[in-house]
């Protein structure tokens, strides 16, 4: 399960310190996630994982340090450009998937292309849905699919723009062991197939067995 060590990292962090409301809460160990590599960012609730994820996604600035995605210094980009960059190069999988109930499965995936300023590529959407065994559900509304199917739609949405890195926030919470194993396998396999790095922020130690590297969050000194 080792990624190509020679490949340029798709996500690197150096000396990132995270703050909330002006107070330093955690420091992020330096990371270098290669294409196809899966890394778990492990820590208990309140350890700053979500704040770290927001910094890595270009949503909330770190107190200090550097974050590079696909060779681009994320926090050097102006706000609007950072939004576009996130849409294009960073795939996000949320804890409760966050699908838009009013849209179909296919539209939930396609809208990620529109949000990133790309023209929707229906062939790309169809092929991802096919790969995740969702083709038959493409036209079904998102609020009419099962929990497991929603997980896979969220994955397709995160991968549709061929991101450099996929950031997943507590994807296994509230899943039993079998479902956790299945989800992690699918997430790894899909990210690797797209050549994307995978970083999973979690408190769930079951994730450890499914990733290439585990990084523990440290509380700020």
């Amino acid at each position: 399960m080792q990624a190509d060590a020679a490949a340029q990292p798709v996500l690197t962090t150096r000396g990132v310190v995270l703050a909330r409301s002006g107070r330093r809460i955690a420091s992020l160990p330096d990371l270098a996630v290669a294409p196809g590599q899966a890394v778990a960012l492990l820590g208990p609730s309140g350890s700053g994982k979500s704040t770290a994820l927001m910094a890595l996604a270009g949503i909330r600035a770190p107190d200090s340090g550097d974050i590079e995605v696909g060779g681009i210094r994320l926090w050097a980009l102006p706000s609007a450009a950072r939004d576009r960059f996130r849409g294009h190069r960073i795939g996000l999988v949320f804890q409760s998937f966050h699908l838009i109930d009013a849209l179909s499965v296919a539209a939930n995936v396609a809208i990620a292309m529109r949000c990133a300023g790309l023209s929707p590529d229906h062939g790309r959407v169809d092929s991802l849905l096919q790969g995740l065994q969702l083709a038959a559900l493409a036209r079904r509304r998102a609020d009419r699919i099962s929990h497991g199917q929603a997980q896979r739609v969220a994955m397709a949405r995160a991968l549709v723009n061929r991101p450099a890195v996929v950031l997943a926030d507590e994807p296994t919470s509230a899943l039993d062991d079998a479902a956790t194993a299945e989800l992690l396998a699918l997430l790894r396999q899909s990210a690797r197939a797209e050549g994307a790095g995978l970083l999973i922020a979690t408190h769930d130690r079951r994730v450890i067995a499914a990733v290439d590297q585990v990084v523990e969050m440290k509380a700020a000194a």
């Binding site: 996604a57 949503i59 996130r86 849409g87 009013a102 849209l103 539209a107 292309m113 949000c115």
Partner: protein
């Protein structure tokens, strides 16, 4: 998949609320449309109906009655005038053409008008078929009357007493159709024309027969003098005549002059407060619909904060989020505008049909370019007003809401 598609999907999810906003808005737009389009349609229908008639000379009384009776042919005559006096009153070089009218009979509700061939000149009409009359009991039919009565050249028909169907038939005095006029769009199309003397002849002869049957010997009983006319209609040669002739005629002791354009403008002026009230009601309904749409959007935005934050997380700009709210309001506004205009014209079509049945006036409502521009511009403003706050709120959604 675009943000407009997303807005439509949201609208479909709350279709009941959206439909209510659309219906209230459409009712408002319909009221405004009916007021704006109808305001001008009635005078226009009247203008088309009176055709080339610039002046009606009749007995003293209401000028509006004279116009309604003898230019538009929608009401009953109020009295008679001396043909000699009326002819003398319009004997002026400023008059291009004039013709007397003798009303009193009908054919299945279509007016028989005793007149002279000069009436055709007043209306600038022409024959489509046949010829003008050259003897008593010959008739030339207006295009609409001929079609409705299924009469052709050479056919015969009998008139009946009075201007509405159902009067006593003059069975012994059948008319022969000798000509049919080309359509003019005016009241002339609805008339059955015959020689002026014919109307007097039919009534005099009918009265004589009835007297004979009753054994009466009173020669004047039930007949009007051959010099009597319901009115005289005239067309001006020059516009200045409008400023001089009516005043001169009104100065006479027995005659009254009426200008169709002046009287109908006056009538439309009376109707103005009604159309203003309809417009105000319409605008109020539009405002209520806009407020309902805005409140609906605000309410649903609260429930959609998560979706909007997601779109931001996926890279959508703040402007794109505002677009979603704006597009929803725009769809409601466009649907209300389209439905409202259709409804407004539908109402006017029903009213127009009823008016045509009752009077023959053809109501053809239309909106001018300026009015259409005003309604579209107004709708855009209402949409912007309704969507402004929801759009701002959407644009300020923070991604942290998701994590």
């Amino acid at each position: 998949m675009t943000f407009v598609h997303l807005a439509f999907a949201y609208l479909r999810r709350r279709w009941g609320q959206a439909l209510l906003s659309i219906i209230v808005g459409a009712l408002g737009v319909a009221a405004v449309t009916a007021a704006l389009a109808g305001l001008d349609a009635l005078p226009r229908a009247a203008r088309q109906a009176w055709g080339g008639v610039d002046l009606v000379v009749g007995p003293k009384g209401s000028a509006l009655d004279l116009v309604l009776c003898c230019a538009l042919h929608v009401s009953e005559p109020r009295g008679l005038v001396s043909l000699e006096a009326a002819t003398k009153a319009v004997g002026n070089p400023m008059i291009r053409a004039s013709a007397p009218l003798a009303l009193g009979d009908n054919v299945n509700g279509w007016r028989v008008v005793g007149t002279t061939p000069a009436l055709i000149d007043v209306y600038r009409a022409h024959l489509a078929k046949g010829r003008m009359w050259n003897d008593k009991l010959q008739a030339v039919l207006g295009a609409t009357a001929a079609r409705a009565l299924h009469l052709e050249i050479g056919d015969s028909f009998v008139g009946a007493h009075g201007l509405a169907a159902g009067g006593e038939q003059h069975d012994r005095f059948p008319y022969k159709v000798v000509g049919i006029l080309a359509p003019t769009g005016s009241a002339l199309d609805r008339l059955v024309l015959t020689d002026f003397a014919t109307v007097h002849y039919v009534h005099a002869e009918q009265a004589r027969i009835e007297r004979a049957e009753r054994g009466s010997s009173d020669e004047d009983e039930g007949t009007a003098s051959g010099d009597a006319a319901t009115a005289l209609v005239a067309a001006y040669r020059m516009p200045t005549a409008a400023a001089i002739l009516p005043r001169q005629i009104d100065a006479s002791e027995t005659l009254s002059a009426a200008s169709p354009s002046f009287e109908i403008a006056r009538l439309a002026g009376y109707a103005r407060p009604l159309t203003d009230a309809a417009t105000a009601l319409g605008l109020l309904l539009v405002a209520i619909a806009a407020a309902a749409a805005a409140l609906g959007l605000m309410a649903t935005l609260g429930a959609r904060t998560r979706d909007l934050a997601l779109l931001r997380a996926l890279g959508a700009s703040r402007a794109a989020l505002a677009t979603v709210a704006l597009a929803e309001a725009a769809m409601i506004g466009a649907a209300a505008l389209g439905l409202g205009v259709a409804l407004g014209f539908g109402l006017l079509a029903v009213a127009g049909h009823a008016l045509a049945q009752a009077t023959g006036l053809q109501l053809e409502p239309s909106l001018g370019l300026e009015q259409v521009g005003g309604m579209i511009g107004g709708t855009i403003l209402v949409i912007l007003a309704a969507a402004a706050f929801p759009a701002l709120r959407a644009a300020h959604t923070e991604i942290e809401e998701l994590l």
